[in-house]
Structure formats: structure tokens, C-alpha cells
């Protein structure tokens, strides 16, 4: 994705992760800023379905040729689905970070945590 974009319907974590809420389930991924900083993603090491993620802790790693980055969980819960298509096509994280580049789906353990997240405007402002 060539130009910076931060969709309004999503919520954001300061460590460059986004959240799409759907009741008490959420989808996580990394933002345009994060994939741009990494460069072309070559490997995504996903967690296992059923494992627990904790807000503000790392739950996975994403690698480019020259860098490794922790992926930080914006909210806590249990992983119910992992985007296995990223195994063959990790570059989807660069090309479509909010769509095909989604990483995990999580059943939230504490939906109230979302109040600590930023909206698109606030997140974008934090980048400058």
C-alpha cells in the first residue's frame, strides 16, 4: 500500500497495531506505519490457536529482510483464528495491512480494555 492510511472504523494501539471490533471478538493486525518501517515482510511467525494474548504484550513476530519486530496485542483474549495465508504470502501485510494482512482473531476477555485505545485521528497525530 503506497500511501499512509488509517481507516476510521478501526481502533489503534500506540505500538502500531489496529483492532477491528465485532461484538466480543476482535481482529488484530499492524498499521501502515509499522509495515512501512519494516520494509517487505518475509516471514510471519504466528501464535497457536487457543493460546492467550495479553494487552501490551508481544504475541507474534514479523520479519523483514533486515529487521524483526514484536507484534503487540492491543487487547487481551484467546486466539480463535490465525491468518494462515500469511505463510505463503507474508507480503499481504505490506500490500493490504487492514484487509488480507490481518493476523489473528481473538475472543476478548475484557472488552472494556478498548477504552484505552486510540481512534484513527489520535493515532495518526501520535505519529508526527
Amino acid at each position: 500500500m503506497a500511501d499512509a492510511s488509517y481507516p476510521d472504523e478501526l481502533l489503534y494501539h500506540a505500538e502500531h497495531d489496529w483492532v477491528r471490533l465485532d461484538g466480543d471478538t476482535a481482529t488484530f493486525g499492524i498499521t501502515w506505519f509499522a509495515q512501512d518501517a519494516l520494509g517487505e515482510v518475509v516471514f510471519f511467525d504466528p501464535p497457536e490457536v487457543g493460546s492467550t494474548v495479553t494487552k501490551d504484550d508481544s504475541y507474534a513476530e514479523v520479519e523483514s529482510v533486515k529487521a524483526v519486530s514484536d507484534v503487540i496485542a492491543p487487547l487481551s483474549g484467546e486466539i480463535v483464528e490465525v491468518n494462515t495465508a500469511l505463510g505463503d504470502k507474508p507480503e499481504a501485510i505490506n500490500e493490504d495491512p487492514y484487509g488480507d494482512g490481518w493476523m489473528v482473531k481473538v475472543k476478548l476477555s475484557d472488552p472494556g480494555e478498548k477504552d484505552a485505545l486510540l481512534d484513527a485521528k489520535a493515532y495518526e497525530a501520535s505519529l508526527s
Binding site: 520494509g39 517487505e40 518475509v42 516471514f43 520479519e63 523483514s64 529482510v65 533486515k66 507474508p90 507480503e91
Partner: protein
């Protein structure tokens, strides 16, 4: 006949050099069944049924699929392949942090003497006195350079020496009954081997901030140097080429906190005969014989990483030790508090021979001269770059003078000329110059770490400065040129992302094997 490569770059089509035109083929794709270089010596003992000597169940069913080539084929393949390499003998190689100084050829001659080269590591010490004496003398010399009394030549490389240093620190604390020291402090400018080493040794890395001048932030150090710290690992001059003016205060803070101080000797080339890590207050120093002491880099090794330690660390040093008796030298294993060994035998003796020959050649005065000229050359290069106006787009990241290396930031160049440090590096290749270290240290944006070393002439340094100036001039007119460089190298920019996503790390030998070809 080698296949021609269909060149997609415009302008360059049809104008390839022979090296660019020739398709890369591995030795496994050459030769033919039945060709050979090796002639096996005759079987001169009575032949016994081989399956009686080694039963079929323990045997390979088919030989390893090694190449089948004649000697001329073998020689042609590897000699032609060598020409696809840039090397230090052929050109300027200002890789910061690597100390690419000239490799004297005498060293290859003496290392090849059969008395050294064909000496078995388990030869009885009484019949290896020349080797043991050489090692003992090398230890004394390194100890004198470091200002620390006890030396082990055992570690195989700098990072191996680092591991030794951290394990020694652990052993020291545990021997004193102090089991709470689980952290190692390293500055945020540290080389990557430092934190990797700490983890291998079972400890935790804590970063210490750098101040605005690129040195250690003393207040941050004071806050973090407590009784949970085992060791501070520091390089001085640091990876910015800056000698920390507070070095004595730093080691004092660390020692007062009860921790050990470890000196990463990667930048020793700046200080030989001028100052010594032992005198700065360090407990442990590692040397990179393949940096300051001219062991050739070999394209990525071998190296050697001896360590020198203070009196209080001595009991824990690795075994075997080289000891000198009244009439002879020996290997000593009886050191109950030693951490043990970190590798087989005595270390990389072939590297000791070369380093020792270097020290014999230069002597006290020559080693000091080497460091002085290393510092002179680096500062002269800064001055030339400034004179040519390069500093405008590639300013010095810290300070005004440096020790043996310095860091430029490519951030202004990126902003104003739309050319990154990476592009500048690739364009330098077209000038027949190996680029400096790029994107290290991490605290400088678009970093370019430049270490000319003392063995380069003034003319070479001038040529480098002029090449940078020319590349910047060219970028101001057309940034695309640098962005698509290099043009004249055997291959052009390579798809590293593809290599990481779908790794192909061996030659395919069967039709069904995976390949990028």
C-alpha cells in the same frame, strides 16, 4: 558455453561485462560422471571383504553426490569464481568496526611452515615447545597492550571472547556467593553480538542510554548499576568512533556496584600504545586478531578472539593454560575454579602465528604508530569530506574529531536529494570502492560508519572523498542513477526478500528439487 543473460535494464542491454554475462553455475553443475582430480593411493594391505569390516546396515546406500571434475576444471571454476569478489588486496574497504587493514604476506609464509602448519594439537608438549613458546609470548604481548596480566588465547572469534567474558563474570560472582547478579549493561550503541552473547550466557540485557555527545549517559548508568548487575560491556572508542571522556568514572561506578567491566576490543586499533583498557579500569578485554592484528578476514573467518583479564578474574579463566617452567613450556589443566573450555584444543593457532609475526614486525613503536596513523587517516578523511562539501548532505553524526572511525548521517541526503545511504553504497561499488558499514550503529539515522585504517595512503583517502562528492553531485541532478546502482558489478541489486521468503540454500540435484532458477 555460458548462457547469456537477457538484460532487462535499458541502456545496459548488450553492454554487459563478461562477468555479468556469465551465468552463475555451481561446481555441482559442472563435470561429468567419471571425471576426477584425486588419485587414491594404492591398497597396499591384504584386502579383506569390506562388508565384514563394516556391515551393510551401517553403510550408505549411495555415495554423496559430490561433483566429478578434473583438476583443470576445478581450478578454472574456483579461480573464475574468485573474480566475482571484491577484496582488500584489490581496493579500499573502509568498513567501520571491521578494521580492514592490509594483511602482510609474510604471515602466510610463516604460517605455512610445516613446523607450525603440520603440528598435531595432541602432540606431546615436550615436542611442541616452539608452539607453546609462541603462544606464551603472544599472551604476554597482548597482556601488555591491554594492560591486564592474564590471557587466554582460546576463543575462536570476538563474540566467542565475549561469551567467555560474561561466563567469567558469572563465575566470579557465584564464587563469592553472590547469586543475584542477573543483568548485563550494554550501551544502546553496542554491536549486535553483545546482547546475543548475554542471552547465551543466561543473563538479561539492560540498555544504558547514550548522551548527546554519543558517550554513556552517566546518570542513566548510575541509576542502573546496582547489585543485580553482573557486568558492563562497553566498546571504547565506541561504535561512533568516540572515546568516552568519562571512561574512568564509568568503570568506577561499575566496580563500586560490585560488577565487572568488560571491554569489547573491536576498536582496539585506535588505542594501541596510547591507552590501555586495564588502565581504564576494565576487568576483561577481548581482542579480535582478525581486526587489529591482521589475521585475514577470509570472507567471513577464521578469526580469533583472545581475552586478557585482571587478577580477580584469573581463577576462572579457561583451560588449558600455557605455563612457563624453568626450562620449558607446558599446558596446564589443574585450575579447579576454571569455567572449563569453550572449544577444542588450544584455539586458532594459525591465527596466533600471524598475529605474533605482526607484533614481532612492528614492535612497541610500530603498534603505536599503527594506531596513531589510524586516527590520523580517519580525521584527515573527515577534513577532506568537509573541504569537498560532502558534509552538507552527509554530516558527521557526533563531535568534530574522531578516533579511528566516524559516523556520517545520510538523513539530510535522503531528505534533500532523495537518495538513501543504501543507494550511495551501491553507487560506490561502481567506483570500485567497497562501501563503509551502513545502517549501523542503530542510533544514527541512515548511518555510514567509516574506518579507513592506517594502511591506506593519502591518495586513496582523497579518491574516496572525491567519489562521495561525485555521487552526491550526480544525485542532485538525477537521483535515479544511484537508486538503480550498481551497474558494473557481476550482479546488480539482488532480491533479498525473495531469498528470505522462499529460501533455497543448496543446489538442487534432482528434477523435483525446489529451486529459484
Amino acid at each position: 558455453m555460458a548462457d547469456d543473460v537477457a538484460v532487462k535494464a535499458p541502456a545496459a542491454a548488450g553492454m554487459q561485462s563478461p562477468l555479468q554475462r556469465e551465468r552463475a553455475r555451481t561446481i555441482f553443475e559442472k563435470g561429468e560422471p567419471g571425471r576426477r582430480a584425486f588419485t587414491c593411493p594404492e591398497l597396499d594391505v591384504p584386502e579383506v571383504d569390506a562388508s565384514q569390516l563394516l556391515a551393510p546396515e551401517f553403510r550408505r546406500s549411495a555415495p554423496a553426490r559430490l561433483p566429478e571434475v578434473s583438476e583443470p576444471e576445478l581450478v578454472r571454476h574456483y579461480v573464475r569464481l574468485s573474480k566475482r569478489n571484491f577484496d582488500l588486496d584489490s581496493g579500499f574497504y573502509p568498513l567501520g568496526s571491521c578494521t580492514m587493514k592490509h594483511n602482510p604476506r609474510l604471515h602466510e609464509r610463516v604460517a605455512a611452515l610445516p613446523g607450525h602448519a603440520r603440528l598435531h594439537p595432541r602432540q606431546h608438549p615436550a615436542r611442541a615447545q616452539g608452539a607453546l613458546e609462541l603462544m606464551w609470548r603472544l599472551e604476554r604481548a597482548l597482556g601488555e597492550v591491554a594492560g591486564l596480566p592474564h590471557v587466554s588465547l582460546q576463543p575462536s572469534a570476538g563474540s566467542h571472547g565475549e561469551l567467555a567474558g560474561v561466563l567469567l563474570s558469572r563465575a566470579y560472582h557465584e564464587d563469592r556467593g553472590d547469586h543475584g547478579r542477573t543483568k548485563v549493561l550494554t550501551p544502546d550503541t553496542a554491536h549486535g553480538t553483545n546482547p546475543a552473547t548475554v542471552t547465551m550466557a543466561g543473563l538479561e540485557v539492560v540498555k544504558v542510554a547514550s548522551n548527546a555527545d554519543g558517550g554513556v549517559d552517566i546518570e542513566d548508568l548510575k541509576a542502573k548499576a546496582d547489585d543485580t548487575v553482573a557486568c558492563l560491556m562497553l566498546t571504547n572508542p565506541n561504535t561512533l568512533g568516540i572515546f568516552d571522556p568519562h571512561i574512568e568514572q564509568i568503570t568506577e561506578i561499575v566496580r563500586d556496584a560490585g560488577a565487572t567491566a568488560y571491554y569489547d576490543g573491536a576498536n582496539l586499533n585506535a588505542i594501541m600504545g596510547i591507552t590501555r583498557p586495564g588502565d581504564m579500569g576494565f576487568d576483561i578485554v577481548h581482542f579480535n586478531l582478525h581486526k587489529s592484528f591482521t589475521q585475514p578476514h577470509g570472507g567471513g573467518g577464521p578469526g580469533s578472539g583472545p581475552i586478557a583479564v585482571s587478577e580477580r578474574m584469573e581463577p576462572y579463566l579457561m583451560v588449558p593454560r600455557i605455563v612457563r617452567g624453568e626450562a620449558s613450556f607446558d599446558l596446564s589443566f589443574d585450575h579447579p575454579k576454571s569455567i572449563g573450555r569453550l572449544r577444542g584444543f588450544q584455539g586458532n593457532y594459525g591465527c596466533f602465528v600471524r598475529a605474533y609475526a605482526y607484533i614481532c614486525s612492528l614492535g612497541a613503536e610500530g603498534l603505536r604508530d599503527a594506531s596513531e596513523v589510524a586516527v590520523l587517516n580517519a580525521n584527515y578523511l573527515i577534513a577532506r569530506l568537509r573541504e569537498l562539501g560532502v558534509a552538507e548532505h552527509l554530516p558527521l553524526a557526533f563531535g568534530e574529531v574522531c578516533m579511528h572511525e566516524f559516523v556520517l548521517s545520510g538523513a539530510p541526503m535522503k531528505r534533500e536529494l532523495k537518495v538513501r545511504t543504501l543507494d550511495l553504497a551501491k553507487r560506490l561499488l561502481d567506483h570500485g570502492i567497497h562501501p563503509p558499514t551502513v545502517y549501523f550503529p542503530l542510533i544514527v539515522d541512515e548511518a555510514l560508519l567509516i574506518e579507513p585504517t592506517e594502511t591506506e595512503t593519502r591518495e586513496t583517502l582523497d579518491g574516496f572523498a572525491e567519489a562521495l562528492a561525485e555521487i552526491l553531485r550526480e544525485a542532485a541532478e538525477d537521483p535515479e542513477i544511484a537508486r538503480n546502482a550498481p551497474y558494473t558489478t557481476p550482479v546488480r541489486r539482488l532480491d533479498e526478500a525473495g531469498a528470505a521468503k522462499r529460501p533455497v540454500i543448496r543446489q538442487a540435484l534432482d528434477a523435483g528439487d525446489e529451486t529459484n532458477a
